[in-house]
């Protein structure tokens, strides 16, 4: 604070000394009021601008303000030179030094604006440049035409081309300030920019009047041009004052805070526009990916960093999200390519920024976690392979026992007593049950195995196939299966058939009515399909709603309904592989509805 105050004090002293200069120098000039006003206006602008800059401007605005207030000093000096020349009644037609100072000030102002605009050029859509360019070009050319053609200002003389030069600079500055005003990339146009626009338009008018003055020396015109200059400085002052208004400064501070958060959050983050071009990236992102700012900003599109297999899915999903506009962020695990060519598993969060075309993308490196996951997966796979091998190898002796028991029964039945025959029958039944269990175990372990291909499958056709496969039980039980308008979905066909087969068979099996009915319906949600398989069967008591999905869990004695208790465990495992979930709603004696979801935009196997 102390440094700011001392800076301000220093500025005041300079201004005070400057303000005293004309009194010392040109106190004799009679019409000095206007001259003094013209001199004091930029000085006042400098003081207020300097104060505002130190107090309210963030880093970005300081870059703009510094050259601007410097320009004001230059203009004040130019005015001072004019007034000195006038006061001494020197016949100088073209005061080079004064005009040079004016020009230098304008050039500084232009430079500052271009520099301020540069970081945003990529985020401002090209169409937003059109109107400002047209307006400023039309105004510049129009005024020039009026001056040189209609009023006959001699173009070839000093006053002629200095006026032309001013007009050009005015038009350029008008263009730049208009671009800012119509598309303040911070999401809203600020009055600051509109006052700057007003400033430059009035300056343009003053410059034009100044041009006319060289051919039409009426006293009034000279006064008018001076008044306009003073008015234009007034606009600059207003611009500075709005800049310091509470609302604007609060907003800026808030934005500054967000920007700081973005920069230093520690989370590698980028901002991208609707054509996926990266506009901003924080250091953590650059560090993580191995790219520098110059490689990324405005050049790189973020989907290029995503592995090809995940790219299409995530773009589809984002597109859908944008259309729906839930405003919720989306997080997905994606494979990301670094600059070095290394791949990285990352949890990537996409958040659309309301009221803008921007999306913030945060990347969390999951490589370490993924490594552990892979190890776990490997163990799981080993376990699954083990289950597969064991159940596979169990089948051979089982088959042998089944064969031998059958031969024993067939060939030696006469030599056994009643009890012996009974035991043999029990042996055959047990072997049959066990082979069913082993078969289910095999199916379950197969779902966990790799090498699965997902494709778009018409589920109406799929259920038709299921219906044919289980035709026997359908006819036996006089069952009805109702479904229509099921969608096409991204599924593993064999597994999905298994899901519907198990659910439909259960629905028919656990049913005491004369006409078991299974209704299959699908609800289309934004990101997933929700299927409901509803029956009019015996129902499941609430306390068993979780247990039924466990392996080999049976609610009813095997003798009554058969089965091994693996069916729903298999179903659940398949649904999980489709990134979905399954649960049950049921009322005893009324019926059961199995509800499951599957993700629509399938990105890799779960």
């Amino acid at each position: 604070m102390a440094s700011k105050d001392s800076k301000l004090l220093f500025a005041f002293i300079i201004v005070l000394i400057s303000a005293l200069l004309p009194l010392v120098y040109g106190g004799t000039y009679v019409d000095a009021y206007v001259e003094i006003a013209l001199f004091l206006a930029p000085l006042l602008g400098f003081v207020i601008g300097y104060y505002v800059m130190l107090t309210y401007a963030d880093e970005t605005f300081k870059h703009l303000m510094r050259p601007l207030i410097l320009a004001l000093i230059l203009w004040a000096m130019a005015e001072f030179m004019w007034s000195v020349l006038h006061s001494q009644n020197t016949e100088v037609h073209f005061p080079v030094a004064a005009e040079a100072l004016y020009l230098l000030g304008f050039l500084l102002f232009t430079y500052a604006l271009i520099k301020a605009l540069k970081p945003y050029t990529t985020s401002i859509p090209a169409k937003r440049y059109v109107a400002p360019a047209c307006i400023s070009a039309a105004l510049g050319i129009g005024v020039a035409w009026y001056l040189f053609s209609v009023r006959g200002v001699p173009l070839g003389e000093d006053a002629g081309y200095i006026t032309l030069l001013y007009l050009c600079l005015d038009a350029v500055i008008l263009f730049l300030t208009l671009v800012f005003a119509v598309s303040s990339n911070r999401g809203r146009a600020e009055p600051f920019w509109w006052y700057l626009v007003a400033f430059i338009i009035i300056t343009l008018a003053a410059d034009a009047t100044y041009g006319i003055e060289s051919v039409d020396t009426e006293y009034l015109l000279g006064e008018m041009s001076n008044s306009l200059y003073i008015l234009s400085y007034g606009m600059l002052l207003l611009a500075f004052i709005t800049f310091s208004s509470k609302e604007a400064s609060t907003l800026r501070q808030v934005e500054e805070r967000y920007y700081t958060l973005f920069k230093h959050s520690g989370a590698p983050t980028i901002m991208a526009n609707t054509d996926n071009t990266i506009l901003l990236a924080n250091e953590q992102f650059e560090e993580l990916m191995g790219y520098g700012k110059e490689d990324i900003l405005g050049k790189m599109k973020w989907p290029d960093l995503v592995d090809a297999k995940d790219r299409k899915g995530i773009l589809l999903m984002l597109n859908r999200m944008q259309n729906v506009g839930t405003g919720k962020p989306l997080t997905r695990e994606l494979m990301i390519h670094k600059r070095t060519g290394e791949t990285m598993y990352a949890s990537v969060t996409f958040s659309f920024i309301p009221g803008s075309d921007l999306v913030a993308i945060t990347v969390f490196d999951l490589t370490q976690r993924k490594k552990l996951e892979m190890e776990l997966k490997k163990i799981n796979e080993d376990l699954q392979n083990f289950t597969f091998t064991v159940s596979h190898d169990l089948k051979e002796p089982l088959r042998n026992i089944s064969s031998l028991a059958t031969y024993l029964k067939r060939d030696y039945e006469g030599q056994l007593d009643e009890m012996g025959v009974e035991f043999l029958s029990m042996l055959v039944t047990s072997v049959s049950t066990m082979s069913q269990l082993v078969d289910d175990l095999l199916t379950l372990s197969r779902v966990g195995r790799k090498n699965v291909d997902f494709s778009f499958v018409d589920l109406n056709a799929l259920i038709d196939e299921v219906r044919q496969d289980i035709e026997k039980i359908i006819t036996e039980r006089n069952a009805k299966i109702v479904y229509h308008d099921l969608p096409k979905a991204m599924v593993q066909k064999t597994w999905m058939k298994q899901v519907f087969q198990n659910l439909i068979t259960n629905a028919i099996k656990f049913n005491r009515t004369n006409e078991p009915t299974v209704e299959i319906a699908c609800e289309d949600h934004d990101f997933y399909f929700e299927f409901r398989v509803k029956d009019n069967g015996i129902g499941i008591p609430a306390e068993y709603h979780d247990r039924i999905f466990k392996l080999f869990e049976q609610l009813h004695p095997r003798e009554e309904y058969g089965g091994t208790g693996a069916g729903l465990a298999i179903v659940k495992k398949i649904i999980k592989k489709h990134r979905g979930d399954i649960w049950v709603e049921s009322e005893e004696g009324v019926g059961t509805t199995f509800i499951f979801t599957i993700e629509k935009f399938f990105i890799g196997e779960a």
Partner: protein, 142 residues
Amino acid sequence: MTKRGVLIIEDNVTDGLVIKRTLSRHISEEITIARDGLQALSFFSQHLKGDADVVLPRLITLDLNMPKMNGFELLERIKENENTKDIPIIILTSSQLPDEIKRAYRLGANSYVIKPTDHAQYERTIEKIYEYWFEFSLIPQE
């Protein structure tokens, strides 16, 4: 001359027995069981040496997982040999790995059948094989 029968190449004693028993209900020709690849090869070489008692089979059932020489190697040998390559070979195995199925057909297997776990189904499967290869299909004469 003895009529051509069936060669069962199967290391599992019970499986061999089941295949033989089921087939012998329908055919009277000689049904031979080889316990592994080497036994099967020596069976063929006996025939080629001119042993009149050994007749080339008109059908071979082949298990894939066997000790000493596995089914694929044997399959390749049989299909490479001028004398034996025309004999239809039915793979009868419990493995249903897609890669193995593809490999078997590439090597010239004529059919690939899974052994059912349940005995009744097992018998039905073998009877179907009999029907297809003995009642419907014609095979080249020796």
